[in-house]
Structure formats: structure tokens, C-alpha cells
């Protein structure tokens, strides 16, 4: 006993002699300290910083319920769906275009994209320091990060207009960086930033064919050109649209439209950039994407949101194979033999969110095809038409129509061809999160929503509100979009 006490006393006396400070140095165990960067100084370590960016696209807040509400339920292609009383928190107001600045979907989408942008900035900051990783790999990874950053800024500028450009890791104590974080830039500045990132990405990214079979979902040179074409389409830089579309090479439209949206069609010849989910254990898919849009009620498997509208059904011409590939109709049998009983709650559901193998899973094998070669052809057609090369545009448009089982377009005049291309975009890319922004871009929104029975307020609904929480934090550095208070 005495010995123990002597030891203890000696131990505590130790404080006086100055070893107390070392005694207080405790290694952290619950998380990896950022001082241990050397752990990541190898190929796999470098790669993992970019993996986290892709991973962000599988998050609930980034790509799922809120984003579905913002990009799809708002549009004339889709209705809220589900039970009349189930608002899905805010999907009713999104459907009715009556959302305000504290709308949860508006906020989560904004925050999620900046979460992703931080991951890009972290990768862009850390990877150059990882000198033991392969130099070519590092260059490619930086290109991927820039592509993904551009992709997210494009989402932001489409949805919110000009937003703060965060092009480096902010220092928490820097006033200058605080201003950067809180000050909205103009949409033109954001577009310029996106283009600059994409040009950097184009310089270093490989073609899709270079990636191994299980890495096809990574950003490629073709994806960067396709995105740059789309960014230019939104700015009506028609020649640049054509130029970039021409540089998207090595892709083709696949003959079977419907198969493209099944597991077998993932990352196929037409696919340029898609968000990749895996349903088998360990599942890593878009959280709740299939479940929130699955058929609701007895015999169903999901919550039944984001249902195809009558307006969309009417948009398909007779014989268009894309209708049954896009829409699940109640009371029908699906390609995999699943019977969708008449007891489910809504008449129609989104087929493109359906997973055959993991139907009611939270994370399934459903992918989102954000860039397809079909869209490249349609963008090129639209740009050529604007550049007065209408016959060339018609040829491209017909490629898309013929694949869908439709005859050549009857449109001839430049104006009719423009309308025909816009309409083709709608049916070709329905439920691929493009329609709302496309309506705004082409100026068709007010008319299209009127057909669908909704009021689109010109001068307001072109953009979503900046989240109120951000405006409050910005404390005068940024102002709200017009029409929202």
C-alpha cells in the first residue's frame, strides 16, 4: 500500500517538474488528425479525396428528395404524387410553385452543392501535396475535381442565378474569405468560372474508353466537353455549343431506349456522365431515390412522389417507345415481370427511378444519367438551327426520333424546328432533372405551366430563392432573388 502511494505521489509530483505538458498531449483516437496527411501520400490516398466528391452525389440532400422536388416536381412533367395529404414536407408548394425562401428543398440543395464544392476544394488543395502519388494520376484527379466543381456550379447557377464563387479553401479568420463566402457573384461570373474549370478539366481528363470497366462513371474528357456545350447552350453561345458537341467523340445513341435505364444499360455507349449507384451489399446508391418515387399503397414499394403528369403523357406521340420506358402505368406488368397492381395509389410513376433487383431498397442500383449522347445531338441540333443550319439540325433531330420509333419530323421552318427540338428534349429527357431548367432557358415556362394549370410568375419563378438562412448569414452582403422576401 505504502509503495503505491509513494509511486502515486511521485507521479503527481511530476507535474511540478514540467512533464505535465507532455502528459496533456493525448493522441486523438476518434478521427484522423489532419496533421497526419502522410497517411494519404500514395495513389489510393490521393484518389480517396476525389471519391468523396462522387460520394456526395449519392447523398439524400444532394440528389434525392429535395432535388427531385426542385428539378422535377416543379416542372410540368411531374406532379407531387403520393397521397393527397402527404406533402412530403414541401413538395406540395414546389408543385404549385408557391415556395418561399425558407423552403427546405431549396436550402438542402444549395447547401449540398456547396458541401460538394468544399470536397472539390479540399481535393484541389491536398492532392498537389501528395508527392508520393503518381503524377499522372494526380493530374487526372485534379481534372475530375474541377469537372465536378463545374458541374455543381452549373446546378447552382441554373437554380439560383449568381452565387458566391468559392474557388479555394477559405481561412476561417480571414475577412476577405468571409466576403468571398457571403457575396453573390453575377450569373455571368459563375458561368465564366465554370468554363474555366471545364477547360482545365478538358486538358487533363482521359477519354471514357481509357477507364476500366468499373471506373466508367468517372469524369472524362467527353463529359467535360458535353457539359461545356450545355453551359454554352444556356448562354446561347451557339457556335461554342457546336464546337464542343463536335469534340464529344466515341459515343453513340443505343438502339434500345428503355434498356438504357436498367442495370444492363449503365454506363453504356450513349452514357457520358452518370451518377452511379450500387444496390448489392454494401449498398452505395442514391439515398432514397427509388423509395421516394416508388409506387405507393397496397402492392407498392415506395412513397409515390414525383409522378408523371397528364401533360407529359400527352406530349408523347403515338408509337413513341419512350413513353412506356419513362412511365410506369398502374395495372401493368413491367419488363421484369413485376405486376403493378391497380391498388397502388397513383396512376403513374417514374420508371427511370425503378430498380428491378432492389425495388424498395434505400440505396439501389438506379443511376441518374446527367449527360447522354442523345442530348449532345439535340444541343448541337438546336445550336445549328440557331446558326441558320436548319437542315443539318433536322438530320440530328431525326436520329433521336427514329430511335424512339417515330418518323422524321415534319417541321421545316427554323422556328418550327426550334420548337420541335425543344419538344423532343422534353420527351427524350423526361425525368432526367432537366425539364424545369429547360423551360426557363427557352422562355417557354409561363406558357407551359399554364397548360399544366400552374402559375409561373415571370420575373420570379425563373430562379429559386436563395435560402433564407444564407441571406441572414450574409447580413447585407448578398440580396435575395427578386420576388422572394
Amino acid at each position: 500500500m505504502k509503495k503505491i502511494y509513494i509511486t502515486m505521489f511521485a507521479l503527481s509530483a511530476c507535474f511540478f517538474s514540467g512533464c505535465a505538458d507532455d502528459y496533456l498531449d493525448v493522441d486523438q483516437t476518434e478521427s484522423i488528425s489532419t496533421t497526419d496527411i502522410e497517411l494519404f501520400n500514395n495513389d489510393a490516398g490521393a484518389t480517396t479525396f476525389v471519391t468523396s466528391i462522387y460520394s456526395k452525389f449519392l447523398d439524400w440532400d444532394m440528389t434525392s428528395f429535395g432535388w427531385i422536388g426542385l428539378s422535377s416536381i416543379t416542372s410540368d412533367d411531374a406532379d407531387k404524387g403520393s397521397s393527397p395529404g402527404d406533402t412530403g414536407t414541401d413538395k406540395d408548394v414546389l408543385d404549385a410553385l408557391t415556395y418561399n425562401a425558407s423552403n427546405p428543398s431549396v436550402e438542402s440543395t444549395f447547401n449540398a452543392n456547396y458541401d460538394g464544392i468544399n470536397r472539390c476544394n479540399q481535393a484541389l488543395n491536398i492532392i498537389p501535396k501528395l508527392d508520393k502519388a503518381d503524377a499522372n494520376l494526380r493530374a487526372r484527379l485534379l481534372g475530375e475535381a474541377k469537372f465536378l466543381r463545374a458541374f455543381m456550379y452549373f446546378t447552382l447557377v441554373k437554380a439560383y442565378g449568381g452565387v458566391p464563387i468559392v474557388d479555394h479553401l477559405p481561412n476561417p479568420t480571414s475577412e476577405e474569405d468571409k466576403i468571398m463566402l457571403l457575396t453573390r457573384k453575377t450569373a455571368a461570373e459563375v458561368y465564366a468560372f465554370i468554363e474555366s474549370d471545364l477547360n482545365d478539366a478538358i486538358a487533363v481528363l482521359p477519354n471514357k474508353s481509357v477507364y476500366s470497366a468499373d471506373e466508367k462513371a468517372r469524369a472524362s474528357k467527353g463529359a467535360a466537353h458535353a457539359l461545356l456545350a450545355k453551359v454554352n447552350l444556356y448562354q446561347k453561345n451557339w457556335q461554342k455549343v457546336v464546337d464542343n458537341c463536335n469534340l464529344v467523340t466515341g459515343y453513340s445513341i443505343v438502339p434500345d431506349y428503355a434498356a438504357m435505364f436498367r442495370l444492363s444499360g449503365e454506363n453504356g455507349d450513349e452514357s457520358i456522365f452518370e451518377i452511379n449507384g450500387v444496390g448489392s451489399v454494401p449498398a452505395k446508391g442514391i439515398q432514397g431515390y427509388s423509395a421516394s418515387q416508388g409506387a405507393r399503397g397496397a402492392g407498392g414499394w415506395g412513397w409515390g412522389f414525383n409522378t408523371p403528369s397528364q401533360s407529359l403523357v400527352n406530349a408523347y406521340e403515338v408509337g413513341d417507345v419512350r413513353k412506356n420506358a419513362t412511365i410506369i402505368f398502374r395495372g401493368t406488368t413491367l419488363y421484369d415481370g413485376r405486376v403493378v397492381p391497380v391498388t397502388v395509389e397513383n396512376e403513374r410513376y417514374n420508371f427511370k427511378a425503378y430498380s428491378s433487383a432492389f425495388t424498395d431498397g434505400w440505396e439501389t442500383d438506379v443511376n441518374i444519367k446527367y449527360l447522354r449522347y442523345a442530348e449532345v445531338l439535340l444541343m448541337k441540333a438546336e445550336a445549328l438551327n440557331e446558326l441558320n443550319q436548319t437542315p443539318a439540325a433536322i438530320l440530328l433531330l431525326n436520329q433521336i426520333r427514329n430511335r424512339a420509333g417515330l418518323a422524321n419530323t415534319t417541321a421545316v421552318s427554323q422556328g418550327d424546328v426550334k420548337t420541335a427540338i425543344w419538344k423532343e428534349r422534353r420527351v427524350e429527357m423526361a425525368f432526367e432533372h432537366d425539364r424545369f431548367f429547360d423551360l426557363v432557358r427557352t422562355g417557354q415556362a409561363a406558357a407551359a405551366f399554364a397548360v399544366d394549370g400552374k402559375t409561373f410568375t415571370v420575373g420570379k419563378n425563373e430562379l429559386f430563392p436563395i435560402p433564407d438562412s444564407f441571406i441572414r448569414q450574409a447580413a447585407g452582403l448578398s440580396s435575395q432573388n427578386s420576388g422572394y422576401n
Binding site: Y5, E30, T87
Partner: protein
């Protein structure tokens, strides 16, 4: 013990023993009963003795010589010796309380000499209310101490001492149990506690340095005493029901309301089923506790053994809790100079938790849904073409069947706590003592949760077309453990110089280590249906593992030096000074050491000459002090890579990857609180009226707020920073009147009142990002702390102001910033919300009355709070198709009832507004005790028997329309504290029990 000392004295005085003659006598108290152990000293003869068990003595002295008779608890007396047998009556000392001691950090102090604000509660106060955790029992008994408790078995009450000084740092006081600093006292059997001392002001707290800012509660457990072996038993049993429930609409009212909301006749108004879901998920709770203890002392050992067993069947179906405790405290007198104290406790707790969400679901699920359909299938919220609930049809709400929820929830938890320590006191010199104390605490916890996935799915939808879940079932197993230890060494020097200068010095060093908490969580699928086959030997489960988490949380260490100086001049002028220096491993190297000084002054006015003749005033003491305290339980500040679970070096695109999503402030350190406090203690009218009055002002100058980073930074982990200032100003009054009317009848009336004004007094004007909290789970937040919150109390609600119902259409209206009444679509989230009060009460009060008449004791304790707001979250969360309160169902706006007090039925999620905010004021009778001591003959085997009845929380008056206005929630003022959502109701309990002594 006394005998030893006296024998020892007698030995010294032996040479003088031989002269004089033998004087005999008896020392009696005022009832004529002999006083054993009184000391008799004959000064001239230099002899002494003490009385025997019956009060008799004999001493060698001369007749006529003055005998001094003294005894603890009685006034000393001097009488001349007589040859005839003497009969000496001693008067009970009025000074008894003055000899009472209070426990201060690293020592004790006579209560009269204490300059600080300490509330001492004794064993009987704590064990009177039959609750599991001692802190719940002290509710309302100490001025300035707010206790927010829950009757959920095994839950930990929030204890707030003199106001909340922090929003996100640790809010719980530091508990020191027999020298062991700990966060939680759920493992302590209330019956083992001998004293519960609450250190309230900075002057008393500063000796605990960086851990003291939320107050310190020192708990001392029992020791053996007396020379007889004492065996005690206590046993009680009781039953419990919710104190107050909300009457929900029945089926027909529900159907009428929902049809109006949906604007069609979805539901038939003639319903075959009318389920009361609260009844369906609850039962009459019952609980029992049995304790036994053996204690005693010999010359060299004082011993105390106790065992206790607590069992509760909670009111929520299937929720059971039990706790077994064992304690052994021994004190060994090793030599004249060396004393060793050893204490040890073992606690094992078992529980089968059930989800409290069942209360919310029971509130919201429609009464038209049966618990089970005729087929045996659990009721589901489908409505068929006839407008009644059926196994298929249209789903009309998203609420699960709460009975099924409970039936299918299969979880068990077990924990074991071991606490123990050794304390060595060595008297180096007569006035210098060395104390060394080591304490350790080991905790181990294990849990399983079995999810019978497929069975649950089939129960919800037995139709053949139902796609079954991929996994048959899922099993989660958790294990957790930690070991914390504490070592302190200190010297205490105490000497009186020239009879008027009483000096005490304490100096020491201490280290506290909060060991790394280790946690293992494994989720498996498709396990054997029999639970005894879940862990087969030799089977590799890897193929069925869904997730495997092996976590070790950061260890924290504290190294400290402390010193205290206490000086008393002429028994009336008191000075105390303390200083502590703490270093904490939680903070970066340059920011880890801090110094915490304090001082206290006291003046015992009644000891002054000029007060000598003051009648009616027995004690008047003025005291005051200042001190600085720290709170090191603040969010940690280690910057980390956030990495995926599977493999942080994984290159595959399907891993989570690695990134940095946090940001640190390298200068982060503890929060600092400074407090100035003045108090007056008084005893008046022959000590029948006792009381104290305290005023304090407490400022926390660098409050850490979990600053939400700008969303554009993409930093998703909140960043702690020193950005706030919080002030607490208040006063406390405690009064108690005790009187004895006759020998058979005594009574008391007491009460305390404390007022505390809490406010966020400042925020740094840069970097301020709001904390938005009190989320209702439907997109609505109710609480806010940002730059506009300065001047508001912590935990303030920030919501829209309800402006009544539009008589034209029954819609709810709200005031916008310019004062106009608008509907919720027209509200501006930026401009139109207002502060609407806080979850923190402005005042707390407790009352106690009681009487003892012959063998009967009776007491009533009550507790109340004023000024707090509570949010009716269950009601506010209502979606279409969910049930409503009866009061709403019978009075809502319609074209024929345009003056209704409730709005027309609606489907939209209502914005958070004052419509759902209610007063949290309540007064509750916490405890009524009626006891009867069965008269016992002397020298019987059974020496004491008391039978009692207890009513806990029998009555409440409250303004809140929900279940309970006492809503601890997650204990976080910016979480769901003060919001009734998934909350366990307050219970009314009736208990009958007995205490026996042998």
C-alpha cells in the same frame, strides 16, 4: 470512538486519580433519561471520567470541588460535587447546528465558518421521495437549483445551478461522489447517500477550476457508526400512471374533421372502431425497491454494507428497468496518525427500452384504425371505399401502428458500473495532515436490438403481392466501456494562534483522466430466430455482417494544482481565498492552462458585542465572494479527415472517400464564468425561523457556440468558437419555520424561491452564424440564436406570431413585420419571426410543510416554475390524416361556426408560431409522505419500524394543454428541450413501504 479518547485522557490523568473520594451521580437529559458518554472533569483533582450507558458515573474528587460536565449536543455545565449521589440535568445545546459541518472541496468546514453558498441536504430529504436518481428527489428543495426531470426509468435529470451559463458546452454540474468526479449518479442508490451538498457560488466552486462552471454537487455515502451492529431494511412498492393525459378525438369526430380537411367524404362518419391509442400502448406501471444494510464500528474499523434492488415495469408497454446496487464503505484506523477510507460500489442496471416515438404515434394515429383487424393483422391506416379502415385501400397517413411498433421493438441493455477509491489521511504533525486519494470508475454497457424485418413487413402488409425485404432480420449488438480515474494529494494545515487567529491552509495537486470510451457496434442480418443461438461458437459471421464499428473516443486528461487559505479572526471575521491552476488535454498547447482564483468574506454579526443583547436574533451572518470558474466540457476541437466506413484508403469510386468537412479555431479553450455573490444567513425567534438570502451576478464571457459555418464554405461540421456572453443575475430566498407545540407535536413550514434572469448579453459582431434549433421534423425550426438574440434568454423561441383566425375562411393568420395579419404563404422567414420567450423558467420555487405528532409523520413538498414557455410539438407536427385533440375536433372553424377558437381543418404543414407555444408555468405537489412509527418495546430484536405511504406527483396545476410542461427532452436548450415531442409523460405514483431497524 469517544470512549477511546476518554480512556486515553483518563490514562494521562491517572496519577491524580488517587486523591479525594468517590463522587457518584447520574447525568440526565431534560426527559430524565440518562446520557451515556458525557465527560466529567474534576479540575482540582485532575481526574476525569465519562458516564456509562445509563448515564451513571463515579469520579474521584473532593466534595465541593467544581465538576465540569460536557457532552456533544448539550450545554456544558459546572456544578459543585456533593457527597450524596448527584443528579445533573444537561440542557440541549442551542449551538448544535453551529457544530454542523459542510463539505467543501478537499475538506470540510464548520457551517458557521463557511463564507460561501452551499446547500446541504441530508439523507432523509433525499430518500423521502421514492425516485431512482437522487437529483430528481432534490427538486424544489434547494434555492437556486433547477431540476428538470423525466419519469422515464433510467433517465438523467438536468440540474441547472444559478442559471444556464452555456449553450453548447457541458451543462451538467460536476458530481463528486466520495472524491470521484463523475458526470452521472444514476449508479448511486439514493438510500446510501448521507449528504448531498450543492456548491452554488464561485467562491466555493473555484477550487474545482475548469470543471466548476456549472456548479458542483458533492455526494457522500454512508459510513458505519455507533458501537452496535445496525441492520436496516427498507422496502416499498408502488404503482404509476400518467399524471395528465390529453383527450384525443374519437372516430366520428376524427372522420368529420378529416373529411372537412380533405374536402371530401373519405371517411365514414359511422365508424366501427374507436381506438384509444394511448391506452393501447400503456399499462399501469409498477415499481418496487428493497434495500438492506449492515453497519457498525469498532475501535479500528467503521463498516457499512448495503444492497439495493429496484425494479420497474414502466407505463409504456414492454418497457422494464431494474437496478441492483451493492456498496461497501470502510474506514480503518491503522494507527493513531493514519486513517484509511475505502469505498466500493457495484451497480448493475438492466432495461428493455422501447421507442418513445410510440407516444407521438399514439397521439397522431387515427382512432378509426383498430389495434388489429379481425384477421389478426395489425391495424394500418388504409381507408377503403366504405370510408372505414381496412387492410387495403388508400393510405391516409404515414403514422405507424404504435402497438406494433412496441411489439416488434426488441432491445435489451445492461450496464455495470464499478466505483471505488482509497483515501489515506496521515497526521504528520498535530496541525498538519496529508491526504492522498485515489478513485476509479469503470463502466461497461452492452445492448442488443433485434429487428424481425420480414415479420414486421408482413404484419404491415400481408397481401401476397407484397415484396418482402431482402433481409430476413437484423441484429445490432453494442458494447461500450470506459475507465476514469482521479488522484489527488494535498496537505492541510490548521492552527489557532493566540486563540483568536484560526488559520487553515490547503495545498495540493490532482490529476483526472477520463479514459477513452471504447465502443463496438455490430449489425448482422439473417440471424437464428432463437436468441440463444445468436452467438454460436466457431461460426464466422462475416458474410452476414452489415456493419461493424469499432470506435475509441478521445481520452481527456487534466492536471491541476490548487490551494486554499482560510482565516478566522475572533470567531467572527472570516476570509477565504482559493486558487486553482488547471491544464487540460482538450485544448491546443498554447491554450491549455488556466488559473481560477476566488475569495470569500464573512462576518458573523451575532458574535459582536453589540449584538449580545439583541433578542430574537440568534444568528446573523453576512457573507460574500467573487470567483472565476471554467467549463472545459466544451465541444472538442480536433480537425479531422471525415472518412468512409469501409476503407479510408479505398480507391474505388464507390467508397465514401475522404475529405475535410470541419474547421477549427486553434485558440479554442474553456468557457470562463465570473461570479460575485452576497448572502445573509439568519436564525431568528429562538431559532424557529431560519433562512438565507442570496444575490448573485454571474457572467460567462466567452461562451462557445457551435457556430454553423457559412453554407457556401461546404463545412458541414459545426465549428465551435468563443463568440458569446451570457449573464445570469438572480436572488434566492430560503425560509423555514420549525416549532414544537407540545412534546408530541412539532411542525415545520418552509419554502424557497429563486429568481434568475438569464440572457445572452453579448455576441461578437463578426463571424456570427445563427444556431437554428428546436426542429419539429417537418421543416419547421422553433429556436434561434443569432446576432438578433442579444438581450434574449438562452433557449428562446423564434417563431411567427399567431394573429387569430380569419373569420372569413378559418385560416390561421399571423402578424408580419409591419403588423398586418397575413396567411402563412405571405410570411417572410427573414423579417416576420419574433422572439416569443424561452424554455428556461424565470423563477423556481419549492414549498414544504410537515408535522410530527407522536408516532406519525406527515409532509408535503411542492415545486413550481414560472416564466418558461413550452411548445406543443405533437400538435404542431400534425399532418393530414392524423388525429386531433378532442378540444379541436369539437370546435373548429366552419361556415356554421365562424367564431370557433380553432382554425378550419388544413393539410399544409403549419409554420412554427405562437399558436403552438404555451405557458410552461406549473405547480406540482411532488411528494406527500405519511409515516407511522410502530411503537416498539426497548431491547426487542426489532428496534424500529416505520410504515409509510407516499404519493409522488399527486397533483399539478398547469397551463399547458399537452401532457407535461416539464420537458427535459435531450437536455439541450437548442434541441428538443421544452418541446413536447416523443416525450415520456410525468407520472403520478403511489407507494407503500416500510423501514425496519434491528
Amino acid at each position: 470512538m469517544r470512549n477511546i479518547i476518554f480512556s486515553f485522557l483518563a490514562l494521562i490523568l491517572l496519577p491524580a486519580y488517587m486523591s479525594g473520594q468517590v463522587i457518584k451521580g447520574k447525568v440526565l437529559d431534560k426527559d430524565g433519561i440518562g446520557i451515556p458518554g458525557a465527560m466529567i472533569v474534576a479540575a482540582d483533582s485532575k481526574t476525569s471520567t465519562d458516564t456509562d450507558f445509563d448515564g451513571n458515573f463515579s469520579i474521584n474528587a473532593k466534595v465541593g470541588e467544581v465538576l465540569k460536565i460536557s457532552m456533544v449536543g448539550f450545554d456544558a455545565l459546572s456544578v459543585p460535587a456533593t457527597a450524596a449521589p448527584m443528579s445533573i440535568n444537561l440542557q440541549e445545546s442551542k449551538d448544535t447546528e453551529l457544530k454542523e459541518v459542510v463539505i467543501i472541496g478537499y475538506g470540510t468546514r464548520k457551517k458557521i465558518d463557511n463564507t460561501t453558498a452551499i446547500t446541504s441536504l441530508k439523507a432523509e430529504e433525499i430518500s423521502k421521495t421514492k425516485v431512482l436518481n437522487a437529483s430528481q428527489a432534490i427538486q424544489g428543495k434547494a434555492a437556486g437549483v433547477q431540476v428538470i426531470s423525466s419519469d422515464l426509468p433510467g433517465s438523467t435529470p438536468s440540474v441547472i445551478i444559478r442559471g444556464l451559463g452555456t449553450a453548447l458546452g457541458g451543462r451538467t454540474p460536476l458530481y463528486v461522489v466520495d472524491g470521484m468526479p463523475t458526470d452521472n449518479i444514476n449508479n448511486i442508490n439514493t438510500n446510501d447517500i448521507t449528504s448531498y451538498e450543492i456548491l452554488k457560488d464561485a467562491s466555493s466552486l473555484a477550487i474545482y477550476g475548469t470543471r466548476a462552471a456549472n456548479g458542483v454537487i458533492i455526494i457522500t455515502t454512508k459510513k458505519g457508526k455507533g458501537d452496535k451492529v445496525l441492520v436496516e431494511f427498507e422496502s416499498f412498492a408502488g404503482f404509476r400512471k400518467p399524471l395528465r393525459t390529453v383527450k384525443m378525438a374519437g372516430s366520428e369526430a376524427y372522420a368529420r374533421y378529416s373529411n372537412a380537411a380533405l374536402n371530401n367524404t373519405t371517411f365514414s362518419e359511422n365508424q366501427p372502431v374507436n381506438t384509444n391509442w394511448l391506452d393501447a400502448i400503456t399499462r399501469t406501471g409498477s415499481y418496487t425497491q428493497n434495500n438492506a444494510s449492515i453497519s457498525g464500528s469498532t475501535e479500528s474499523v467503521k463498516y457499512f454494507f448495503s444492497i439495493g434492488n429496484y425494479e420497474e415495469k414502466a407505463i409504456l408497454n414492454g418497457l422494464d428497468y431494474s437496478r441492483f446496487t451493492f456498496r461497501n464503505n470502510n474506514e480503518y484506523k491503522i494507527s493513531k496518525k493514519l486513517t484509511l477510507n475505502q469505498n466500493f460500489s457495484f451497480t448493475s442496471a438492466n432495461s428493455s427500452p422501447k421507442p418513445l416515438g410510440a407516444f407521438t404515434n399514439a397521439y397522431k394515429q387515427s382512432p378509426i384504425v383498430p389495434v388489429r383487424f379481425a384477421s389478426g393483422q395489425y391495424g394500418v391506416s388504409f381507408v377503403d371505399a366504405n370510408g372505414v379502415a381496412n387492410t387495403s385501400g388508400s393510405s391516409f397517413n404515414n403514422v405507424g401502428n404504435p402497438v406494433a411498433q412496441l411489439d416488434f421493438y426488441d432491445e435489451e441493455q445492461r450496464s455495470i458500473s464499478l466505483q471505488g477509491g482509497l483515501k489515506l489521511d496521515y497526521d504528520i504533525l498535530k496541525s498538519l495532515k496529508f491526504t492522498s486519494q485515489f478513485n476509479g470508475e469503470y463502466y461497461s454497457w452492452k445492448q442488443y436490438n433485434f429487428d424481425d424485418t420480414r415479420t414486421i413487413d408482413i404484419a404491415g402488409d400481408p397481401s401476397p403481392g407484397n415484396t418482402l425485404p431482402t433481409n430476413i432480420n437484423e441484429l445490432t449488438k453494442g458494447r461500450e466501456q470506459y475507465f476514469n480515474w482521479n488522484l489527488s494529494n494535498y496537505l492541510t494545515y490548521n492552527k489557532v494562534f493566540n486563540e483568536i487567529h484560526d488559520v487553515e491552509l490547503t495545498a495540493g495537486i490532482e490529476t483526472s483522466v477520463k479514459g477513452a470510451r471504447e465502443k463496438l457496434t455490430i449489425r448482422r442480418k439473417n440471424v437464428n430466430a432463437n436468441s440463444n443461438y445468436w452467438s454460436l461458437a466457431g461460426v464466422d459471421n462475416v458474410a452476414n455482417v452489415i456493419s461493424y464499428r469499432d470506435e475509441v473516443f478521445n481520452e481527456t486528461r487534466l492536471a491541476s494544482y490548487f490551494g486554499r487559505f482560510q482565516y478566522k479572526l475572533m470567531d467572527r471575521y472570516l476570509i477565504t481565498g482559493t486558487i486553482r491552476r488547471d491544464g487540460s488535454s482538450n485544448f491546443a498547447k498554447d491554450y491549455r492552462w488556466g488559473t481560477f482564483p476566488a475569495f470569500g468574506l464573512g462576518w458573523v454579526i451575532t458574535k459582536e458585542e453589540f449584538m449580545a443583547n439583541a433578542t430574537g436574533i440568534d444568528l446573523l451572518k453576512l457573507r460574500g465572494g467573487w470567483g472565476r470558474l471554467g467549463n472545459q466540457t466544451v465541444p472538442l476541437n480536433n480537425q479531422a479527415y471525415a472518412s468512409g466506413l469501409t476503407s479510408y484508403l479505398g480507391g474505388s469510386i464507390l467508397n465514401e472517400g475522404t475529405t475535410v468537412n470541419s474547421q477549427v479555431d486553434p485558440s479554442l479553450s474553456w468557457e470562463i464564468t465570473e461570479e460575485t455573490s452576497v448572502g445573509l444567513d439568519f436564525e431568528l425567534l429562538n431559532k424557529r425561523l431560519k433562512g438565507s438570502f442570496d444575490v448573485y451576478e454571474k457572467n460567462t464571457t466567452n461562451v462557445i457556440l457551435n457556430v454553423r459555418p457559412y453554407p457556401t464554405s461546404g463545412i458541414v461540421v459545426a465549428t465551435p468558437g468563443h463568440v458569446g456572453e451570457v449573464s445570469n443575475k438572480g436572488y434566492e430566498i430560503a425560509l423555514r419555520w420549525d416549532d414544537k407545540l407540545t412534546d408530541n407535536l412539532s411542525y415545520w413550514v418552509g419554502g424557497n424561491y429563486s429568481k434568475n434572469i438569464n440572457k445572452l448579453s453579448g455576441l461578437k459582431d463578426f463571424d456570427i452564424s445563427p444556431i437554428i434549433g428546436g426542429n419539429l421534423g417537418n421543416g419547421q425550426d422553433t429556436k434561434l440564436l443569432n446576432s438578433t438574440s442579444v438581450g434574449q434568454p438562452l433557449g428562446s423561441f423564434y417563431i411567427y406570431e399567431f394573429a387569430g383566425i380569419d373569420p372569413a375562411n378559418g385560416k390561421m393568420l399571423y402578424y408580419n413585420a409591419s403588423g398586418a395579419k397575413v396567411t402563412q404563404d405571405a410570411l417572410s422567414a427573414t423579417n416576420d419571426k419574433k422572439y416569443a420567450g424561452s424554455i428556461l423558467p424565470k423563477s423556481n420555487y419549492g414549498v414544504t410543510v410537515g408535522l410530527n405528532y407522536k408516532n406519525i409523520d406527515f409532509s408535503v413538498d411542492g415545486y413550481g416554475t414560472g416564466g418558461a414557455k413550452v411548445y406543443n410539438g405533437k400538435k404542431a407536427q400534425r399532418f393530414t390524416g392524423e388525429n386531433i385533440e378532442q378540444s379541436l375536433a369539437t370546435d373548429f372553424w366552419s361556415v356554421s361556426n365562424t367564431n370557433a377558437s380553432n382554425p378550419a381543418p388544413f393539410n399544409q404543414v403549419p409554420v412554427a408560431s405562437t399558436y403552438y407555444l404555451e405557458s410552461g408555468d406549473f405547480f406540482r405537489v411532488n411528494n406527500i409522505t405519511l409515516g407511522y412509527k410502530v411503537p416498539m418495546k426497548e431491547n426487542q430484536f426489532l428496534s424500529y419500524c416505520r410504515i409509510y405511504m407516499n404519493a409522488i406527483n399527486p397533483f399539478i396545476t398547469q397551463k399547458f394543454s399537452g401532457f407535461s410542461p416539464e420537458l427535459n427532452g435531450d437536455g439541450n436548450p437548442y434541441g428538443n428541450q421544452g418541446i413536447e415531442l416523443d416525450a415520456y409523460p410525468t407520472l403520478r405514483s403511489f407507494v407503500i413501504g416500510a423501514n425496519l431497524k434491528f
